[in-house]
Amino acid sequence: MDIDFITQILFAAIKTGTPLLFIALGEVICEKSGVLNLGQEGMMLMGAVVGFLAAYTTGSAGLGIFGAIFMGMIMSLIFAFLVLHLGANQVATGLALTIFGTGLSAFVGADVVGQTVQGFQPIIIPLLSDIPLLGKILFTHDLLVYVSFAMAGSVAYVANRTRTGLVLKAVGENPHAANAIGIKVLRVRYCAIMFGGAMAGLSGAYMSLVYTPMWIENMSSGRGWIALALVVFASWRIGNIMLGAYLFGLASIMHLVLQGMGWSISPNLLAMLPYVATVLVMVIISADKFKEKLLAPRSLGKPFDPRQMA
């Protein structure tokens, strides 16, 4: 293996990990507020198809991105309303969102399957891209990859360094106490869920406008679920999420690596790798039950209904 090959692989791992990074950043904020949204896959698919349709009809990839983010937020609003206002089970509602999103995206995208759009061109950042090795890997990407770097940084800043982050953490730990001291729990959770939706939509747009770039039914192929595992793997820490996303990215392109090294394994078996990796990672990370309980937001998945404050 020469150095060029390694550079290419790492470059591709970042590119492949970027949609995971987007969606996991959204989910981690949502989970920090105590809400488990299993609808990531559905929101991502809707983002992908709407982003593609918008870009396809207007010819503007930028409009596609905005359309996808908007769609992701609409989807998450449905979830938020059911879960926060009607007290519906978070797991069941998340599943419904995924099933709905999968079906609806296939439905509205049926006419444009296989079409292509003009995606984003790589932007080679002057100076930084000249850094040996790292410059190629990190600074010769398209716009959205840079956006994902910036997003990770700002999400980490807001979550760890601001009062907003403090409020988020408080709501996720103990919504009843937060309500008692006057934090508007539902409003915080609405915002967190919608941020999750926006990120999932953006992630979908990355798939259909940059990564492929075309619309195929079910094109997220489980990334929404892997992102959920990623958040657990990362122990709800933003830095770990970034690292984890690129590791999963690497696992997804492992078949290229192995082919490059001259191995021949059935492509179907290689396609399992990211999923097998996810299971393995979860087994390793969750085996310490005590640690996971310590790190997870305390009220994660539990409903909070201010009406039932007696």
């Binding site: 009607l86 489980g222 399992m272 979860m282």
Partner: protein
């Protein structure tokens, strides 16, 4: 002003009315959608809901779709009752089909009487195995059941693809990704000669009744319900969570495996890549719509099978994409969850005089 008030006791009526109301709202949603798409909503609704029941052939096809939905949903109902979020029916179904096919392919030229039972058992055991792995990982390593079962669905799909492209491919099949056609000795008997409905549906109905009995009358069923309703109470009572988890998960895996093998050893008759149009996922909705009760699943599986069948008809006759079925399922579950709100709450129209003493 309309106000939302908590009920003092949950409404029994709403528990049963909620699924019907949800179906009704979904139909209204569908009609509006079809109108917007310039399709005649009445014709579409007729095709989706009435046509599948209108003649013997369609009815038989409906039963073909109902079998796997019901089998998976009965298993899932018990899982969800016990608060075990098994989303893996799809994978268990696919592996059941794969394992059953591997066995059936040993009997391609045979007419042995035991070929069919062995094929079914192979399918059931494969499904159980596929449910056993995430169960083991949950109990031993505390891994999240939702995520592992989902991952195992994807792994199962690629394993199946690997099977039909590799070791199980028909050597005389001109390279198509299909197995050899199964011998009649490994095919489930048909209910009647007019259609493809087979005795798998009878198994499914019997198993649903059996599961309903277990849930209502047995101590095991009671423990399942307590675990689902109130886990701290179950631990306080000293129920054996490990044993219960194994029992429920393996039962669900067995049923999904049976559903899978019944497809390949039934209407399909060989192993192909597209065995399931997402029965395992739809079964989640069937289970919910049936109020997580095996007999409720009987009704909701019928409805869902009609919808599947109707989706086929609507695609053929009106050019409506088949994906409309998946979307309807999601909408249906949304409406159901929303309607369930009214089990615990009601709308009131208070007059202001109430508080003036």
């Amino acid at each position: 002003m309309i106000q939302v008030t908590a009920r003092i006791e949950p409404s029994k009526l709403m528990t049963f009315a909620s699924p019907l109301l949800a179906i009704f709202l979904t139909l209204i949603f569908g009609s509006i959608l079809f109108s917007l798409l310039d399709k005649d909503p009445l014709q579409a609704m007729h095709l989706l809901l009435i046509a599948p029941l209108s003649d013997a052939y369609n009815f038989s096809e409906m039963l073909v779709k109902m079998g796997p939905l019901l089998l998976c949903a009965v298993g899932l109902s018990l899982c969800y009752r016990a608060n075990l979020w098994n989303i893996g029916a799809e994978g268990q179904l696919l592996i059941g089909a794969l394992g059953g096919s591997a066995m059936a392919l040993q009997f391609v030229d045979s007419e042995a009487w035991f070929a069919l039972p062995l094929t079914l058992i192979a399918g059931i055991l494969s499904g159980m195995l596929w449910a056993a792995i995430p169960t083991f990982l949950k109990l031993k390593f505390n891994s999240n059941l939702i995520l592992t079962t989902i991952m195992f669905n994807y792994i199962a799909l690629y394993l199946l693809l690997w099977g039909v492209h590799g070791p199980l491919r028909d050597p005389d099949g001109f390279g198509f990704p299909e197995s050899a056609i199964f011998s009649d000795a490994t095919i489930l008997p048909l209910l009647n000669e007019d259609g493809r409905a087979h005795i798998g549906i009878i198994f499914a109905i019997l198993l649903a009744i059996f599961a309903a009995f277990v849930l209502a009358k047995s101590h095991l069923g009671f423990q399942i319900k307590v675990f689902g309703a109130d886990e701290p109470a179950a631990r306080y009572a000293g129920f054996n969570q490990t044993k219960l988890t194994w029992a429920v998960m393996l039962f669900a895996g067995a049923l999904a495996g049976l559903a899978g093998v019944s497809e390949v050893a039934g209407p399909i008759g060989q192993l192909v890549p597209g065995i399931s149009p997402g029965y395992g996922y739809s079964a989640i909705i069937v289970a919910y719509l049936g109020r997580l009760h095996p007999l409720g699943a009987l009704l909701s599986a019928t409805f869902m099978a009609v919808l599947y069948m109707g989706g086929d008809l609507a695609q053929i006759e009106m050019g409506i994409p088949i994906a409309v079925v998946g979307m309807f399922q999601g909408v249906l579950l949304f409406f159901l969850l929303a309607c369930d709100f009214f089990i615990h709450y009601r709308l009131t129209f208070p007059s202001n005089s109430q508080y003036q003493n």
